[in-house]
């Protein structure tokens, strides 16, 4: 903190005619942050307060009646909402899969494989492409007679040709698979960057002691990038909990018969397709509470890492 305070003294602003050590706080920072504060209040704080308040009301957008916790009761009695939460929890299972896969790929790339730059680019590419466009591609690819199943049949594995998006038991897992497909490259790039920043001396010393490749990865590298792994896990948990609307909307539209609905989809559906504004607000509050726990963990990690930078 001290360095920042010193830097602040050195900053412009304030009148030059105040030689005292304790200068009045200059005004300019408040002017500089004013637009940002306006954006945050309008874009985040106002809607957050509003959604919490409105979750205790039912009716239409224009006419709301106070119903206490009535919306929440209805919500948890609604089997579709329970399915939606369960599906978000199922999607959480993709996080360890993604993490382990990404770590493995990053470790291999880090070990200096020929063509590493190409592989990294190829694996990362899906991550930045629009989920809506990619989702359309997968919705055709995963059709019962789509590209994937026809390929499986062609190589004699027709028994594996399931109705990926059309079967109530499979649909959410297919959504999860597309999420993994798209997010994996992000993990690879993040972990590779962390591995590349490690001091070479430690690895060298372990190698001198005769440690195997596997042992170096698990005992030397993994503990050192633990912080990055924690970040990734929390970020991806937030992602599958609250940022998968596009996948569900494009791939399955929550179907068949709501079996692949997630909380975001439920909020959209009840709020905008069915006009149950009270339910949508209550569901949004539930999602906010769940995401809030993860966001709090994320902030803790972030600030813990940030402290040395703040100095």
């Amino acid at each position: 903190m001290t360095l920042v305070a010193t830097a602040a003294h050195a900053t412009p602003g304030g009148s030059p005619a105040t030689p005292r050590p304790r200068r009045p706080r200059p005004l300019w920072p408040y002017l500089f942050i004013a637009p940002a504060c306006a954006a945050l209040v309008f874009g985040f704080i106002y809607p957050l307060i509003s959604v919490v308040r409105n979750s205790f009301y039912a009716g239409t957008v224009y006419e709301l009646n106070f119903v206490g916790i009535g919306n929440f009761k209805t919500l948890f009695e609604d089997p579709i909402f329970r399915t939606s939460i369960a599906n978000n929890l199922r999607l959480l299972l993709t996080v360890p899969v993604m993490t382990v896969l990404a770590l493995a790929v990053a470790a291999i790339l880090h070990s200096g494989v020929r063509g590493g730059v190409f592989y990294r680019a190829a694996v990362f590419l899906p991550y930045i492409l629009p989920a809506a466009g990619i989702g359309l591609g997968f919705s055709v690819f995963l059709q019962f007679n789509g590209g994937l199943n026809q390929s499986l049949r062609a190589v004699g594995m027709g028994g594996l040709a399931y109705d990926w998006l059309g079967s109530p038991n499979l649909a959410i897992w297919s959504v999860g698979a597309v999420v993994v497909w798209q997010q994996l490259g992000f993990g690879v790039v993040v972990f590779l960057a962390a591995l590349l920043s490690l001091p070479v001396e430690v690895t060298e010393a372990a190698r001198m002691d005769g440690a195997s490749w596997w042992r170096i990865q698990t005992r030397v590298h993994l503990p050192q990038i633990r912080g990055t792994i924690e970040f990734f896990v929390v970020l991806q948990a937030i992602t599958v909990l609250s940022l998968v609307f596009t996948y569900v909307y494009i791939l399955t539209t929550g179907g068949p018969s709501n079996s692949s609905s997630v909380m975001e989809f439920y909020i959209w559906r009840s709020g905008f397709a069915q006009g149950s504004v009270g339910l949508a607000n209550a569901a949004a509050v539930v999602l906010l509470a769940l995401a809030g726990v993860l966001i709090a963990i994320y902030m803790r990690l972030r600030l813990r890492d940030d402290d040395p930078a703040l100095r």
Binding site: P29, V113, V189
Partner: protein
């Protein structure tokens, strides 16, 4: 790359990476190939290689559908919201890094927390607001909302970068009589070109790819963004997969090309939210 051990791991490593590359690029290749086939050719064998290549699906996607209009809308919304949010965030990040004011850490902490708030939670109150000010079906509604949503990440990223600028440089500017705005413009900004480019790149892609908000706020067919427009086609062209995928490719190609030219910015920006 520092080599841990070559040999056995190299061979198995190559196999793993090759398999993964196939999985990563396979579905994209399927999309691209299908978009270049005729409907009947695709129906005969969805997984096979295209019989005769045709551009007809792209021509249809561009002329029969308002795809170009949607793409233009997407571009306007993304470019405007990125410009506005980056400008707002630059001022705030400069004040947070070099200024002294009450609530500095609250503003920074709040920004970090807001990065991860799910937009769907904010959607209903924002919709009511946009209805009240009669901006629904107007690109401005989405542009305004995006501009706000992009501010927290930009603040966080720029503060992290500004902290690496030596305080002596600013002191020198102050000695020369520069005020805060001049210090920002003539000392900090010239050093921050790469960082600003990174923020802009990451946020531009986010805005271009966004679906939920534009789907809700822009319901008039001609006012849609490309992603919201594409989502309309889903139900409409279920039996014309090649056309559907040609339209999808038109949303993917600009991003892929952009990625090719700015890979570094992407990687830097996207890894900034995580480790150090």
């Amino acid at each position: 790359m520092n080599v841990v051990r070559r040999g056995a791991t190299t061979i198995s490593g190559q196999i793993v990476l090759l398999a993964l590359t196939l999985i990563s690029l396979g579905p994209l290749a399927f999309m691209a190939a299908t978009s270049l086939r005729t409907t009947s050719d695709y129906a005969l064998n969805p997984a096979g290689l295209p019989g005769a290549l045709t551009w007809d699906n792209y021509i249809a996607a561009l002329t029969d559908l308002p795809t170009l209009r949607w793409a233009l809308n997407s571009f306007l919304v993304s470019a405007t919201s990125v410009a506005v949010s980056t400008a707002i965030a630059t001022l705030a990040a400069f004040a947070i890094t070099f200024g002294r004011f009450r609530g500095r850490s609250v503003l920074l902490g709040g920004s970090i927390g807001f990065i991860m708030v799910p937009p769907v939670v904010l959607l209903l109150p924002m919709f009511v607001f946009m209805v009240n000010v009669k901006l629904v079906n107007n690109l401005a509604s989405v542009t305004i909302f995006y501009s706000c949503l992009l501010v927290p990440f930009a603040i966080f990223f720029l503060v992290t970068f500004f902290r690496t600028i030596p305080a002596e440089l600013l002191e020198a500017a102050v000695v020369d009589g520069a005020g805060p705005l001049r210090s920002l413009v003539s000392v900090v900004l010239p050093l921050s070109r790469a960082a600003l480019l990174t923020v802009a790149t990451v946020n531009l892609i986010w805005a271009w790819n966004e679906l939920l908000i534009s789907l809700v706020f822009l319901q008039d067919e001609n006012q849609r963004t490309l992603m919201a427009g594409l989502s309309l086609l889903q139900g409409r062209y279920t039996t014309n997969q090649p056309l559907l995928l040609a339209a999808a490719m038109l949303s993917v190609i600009p991003v892929a090309l952009f990625y090719l030219f700015s890979q570094r910015s992407f990687v830097k920006g996207l890894t900034a939210g995580i480790g150090k």
